[in-house]
Symmetry: C2
Subunit: 234 residues, 2 copies
């Protein structure tokens, strides 16, 4: 992930001594040094015990970077008719959030909107789960998800809420125009307040005795259904 | 999950004292006692510190059960023309495996087949991630995944491998007849040996710079595409 970092936001790279001493890593480190030069960023080798005490993982890989957090305006998440948003209410699991960012990039979302009570996008576990997509998927954290939804709707973006009360299956709506999908908290789903602002409820059919799916799994099915429809309509 | 346990496999229930003393839990415990009577299972209240030392979680919920592990023959995973299998090679993350079992039940799989180097289905984290689906989804652990695949193919079951070399998108094949989906290890994907035994490679289209999706996410898209096609063809 450090090798993939955009030059513009790279501030510093720290390498563990043991990592540097392994000849297998020399090619990667040469690439990183060049990158740091271009970025005018610090490049420093530190003792293994120092590296370990700074890292938040049990078995750190040996490279660490300091980067500027990206910031986007709401406008940067919109792409006219092609707008494809994921809107998250109070997602709590960092791995779930990171997986949604990664899958969102794959499905072609134009941005991800989160309320303030969603887990921090810059939680180390979230960042790792994005597998680099954190660098590329525009996001926006809103103080007032309801007001943000209404602003999007005024711009003609249809918002769909994954909801047990949905009449139509998720594959029975048309997502070829500007749209967004609302996914709620892992334990409680969407709040009534937010769900009721959606243009439509949609349901994911479930067989057996399954009552709900994991939040990242639900988001995947909706985002990739939009992707599928848009591929077919081209 | 303990409340949902099938009576036939319930052997013992242990309840933490603190949990039993909370009046809010009396209804659940009454239901569990009745279940234990029916199952001829042990029901025992234990001191909180004993409960905590036996539990593998930091903040145990207060109910624990001992259950017989279900066992299935390969035949129990097959449903003629409706066969819909998930075949896993060396999945390592217990949460990923559990999520696949849960989502698999939702998508209507008739069974899940794993090779021996897939993480233990009875890993506590896997069991929790299944959200109860572990009780209901037939599974089979094979010593020789390749030989198992060939046996399935002889019965007319088409096996599709999610693979970067796939020609067709996953939504361009017909899954309305007996079929199965192969998902490989999180880091390395499917081994060549296993992938080459598949009837066809399929790819999941990915936008941006995404190179692969999480294993459970890929499995979800394939299993639900089969679900979608089968719903439409009814």
């Amino acid at each position: 992930m450090v090798v993939e970092a955009p030059v513009a936001s790279l501030k510093a790279v720290y390498v563990a001594e043991g990592y540097e001493n392994n000849p297998e890593n020399h090619a990667v480190l040469a690439e990183l040094k060049t990158k740091c030069d271009k970025a005018n960023a610090i490049y420093e080798v530190v003792a293994d015990n120092v590296f370990k005490s700074v890292s938040d993982t049990q078995t750190p890989q040996g490279i660490m970077a300091v980067m500027a957090m990206p910031e986007y305006s709401m406008e940067q998440l919109l792409a006219g008719d092609k707008t494809h948003l994921l809107l998250l209410e109070s997602i709590q699991d960092p791995g779930n959030l990171g997986t949604m960012v990664r899958t969102g990039e794959g499905a072609g979302v134009t941005g991800i909107i989160m309320n303030k009570t969603t887990v921090d996008l810059f939680n180390p576990k979230t960042i790792r789960s994005t597998m680099g997509s954190i660098y590329r998927v525009p996001f926006y954290v809103t103080d007032d998800l309801g007001a943000t939804m209404q602003a999007l709707q005024r711009q003609g973006i249809s918002l769909y809420a994954a909801h047990l009360k949905g009449q139509n299956s998720y594959d029975e709506e048309d997502y070829t125009k500007a749209c967004g999908f609302l996914i709620g908290n892992e334990g409680n789903g969407l709040s009534d307040e937010i769900a009721n602002l959606a243009d439509a409820f949609i349901k994911i059919p479930m067989e057996g005795q399954v009552e709900s799916l994991n939040a990242a799994i639900s988001a995947t099915l909706l985002m990739y259904e939009a992707n599928r429809q848009r591929r077919k309509s081209n």
